[in-house]
Symmetry: T
Subunit: 69 residues, 12 copies
């Protein structure tokens, strides 16, 4: 059947190094249970702050995967 | 209990004919496992292109369904 | 007087065939009582679902018409 | 493990009293099966109307929870 | 004729009690002259302030009703 | 009754001089039939072009007025 | 001099009762040091959750006040 | 060199049949001079109206293509 | 061939007098090399400041023109 | 130290002449106490109306200035 | 008093290395005079360019801090 | 001539390292044929995923350059 259907879920990854790393954490955690991930779109970037210092970078990511693939 | 709770999920349907068909594919695939779907809201429309021609129409759709109905 | 004033109203058309048909219904219903319609802008597309099937396509449309033309 | 991953889901709660109550219904229904909820963000507020009266208040809410916590 | 057309108008209700009450005022004033209202969508919430105190809550609401019903 | 209700309508004014003039045209045309106008919010500014020259400035304006005042 | 200048600041109020109360807290705290507040616009509503229950309502508010011109 | 660069241009296609046809016209006109088109994203849909009837459907489309491919 | 295709480009005009003048500069510079311009939509207005004074007004404008159909 | 930090504040200027004048008032009032202003971005334009006439033009402006310059 | 009030300010940090570094500069400069910072939200990322090369990365950040904590 | 006109184009850069690198690729490719680039604004960040791993980072960038400089 040529007409495939994808589902999009929204994840937040965190990292104390960078937003790339935060987004990668979110995607690679999701890829443990979901297959055929293709694109991760960044929806929001922020930081947590503690004691006047940046403690972690967070990336909110939309990830799409094929249903019933 | 009169106060019901709905969940909204985001799907992408594809079709080589039209966006109506793409959205219908997404909704009717979802209705196989979810019940009491009411509304499908279009979030984004796009097309894939191959060899200079439109290959498929894609519709990103928000679908809501009742939890524990 | 060269400086004309337009009013914009917001309509929702429905159709069981397509969003083009839904938008056309909205525009052509409005044109019965309003004159000199020029542009119809799509604000939102959605679908109603019943029994797991798409029942109707709906198009929310901004229509502008000249006041006192 | 310092780099946690969260998932965000979108719920709609309803109440005949208030939007606070509608949002609380959504969150507390979700907390039955999900743990470690932290924040609920309001995405949209609306009302259903029947017989010229407001029948229910609805709140669309983004709720985040920790994966594999 | 199965393909109905709706019109959407934008109202602002005010109340010294709550945003629910402000939105209800807008909807129930409109229902005096319009019939078959279904949904009221909140577009904006604000407050007027006087003498350092909140004087009124205001809710901007989109209300849809059927044309020629 | 202290809790007043306002209606918001959307107008487009045009002028060959300026956007201020275009918006003023829209507001002052509306004030012929509506009373107690308070605020006009600019939603969009554009220009029509003819023969490579700007022909007119257009301002899309939200105007609110009191119902049954 | 008739042309006054206003400044807009962004506050977040919290309450365990309602969003109206949260917004009121923000405004009335600000009115202790700022004078001639007029309008408070809601930018965002959310909730904090603890132990599966809503713990507090939060309202992000834009408040404008006159600069001492 | 593995790190490719794409350019995105914005086109408007028109059709008297459908928005799919309008978008296809835009994409296939562009593909005459540009190569390696991949995705066409819909930015806006509208209609021109003449004599109370829909005259044409228009689709504003973002099309991306590879630079120096 | 009745189905024409338009391209939209984004320009920024500057002027030390007004935003109308800034937008006009952008449009009339573009009309030297492009033909059949119809509409210029304002996307953003800003100002450059120097020595505490406004030095220039800038208008970001979307201009559409017909591709050589 | 090469890595400078800027602060952005939001002002509303008013004028009975034009939005350029309103924005200029906001910027030039701010420049009395802040130094090294560079850019003023327009966030919103509106008008106050009295007795059916435009009474003043208002411009909401983001102004950035260097901290500790 | 359990109902705390936060203020949100908008900063722009710059760095010749990365957006993480730019955002960190903004936050850590602010933390010199403000206490109890919790979250920094990214509003915009851009770059300055000189001689055809990226000269600096800039991050616009919303930072919230407790009033009277 | 004091009133300059800029054009803004939209590019997508890719990198397997970081979004900074992706954006830099887009800008420095453009600077080969365009001169007097000043600012690159990030419009969107995403990632491509292959085999459950992030394969590349992509940055969509608005780049402005002076016409006829």
């Amino acid at each position: 059947m040529p007409d495939s259907v994808y589902k999009i879920i929204e994840l937040v990854g965190t990292s104390d190094k960078s937003w790339e790393d935060a987004a990668k954490n979110a995607v690679e955690t999701a890829s443990g249970t979901l297959h055929d991930l293709r694109i991760g779109e960044i929806l929001k970037l922020d930081m947590t702050i503690e004691g006047g210092k940046v403690k972690s970078y967070r990336a909110r990511v939309n990830v799409s995967f094929r249903l019933d693939a």
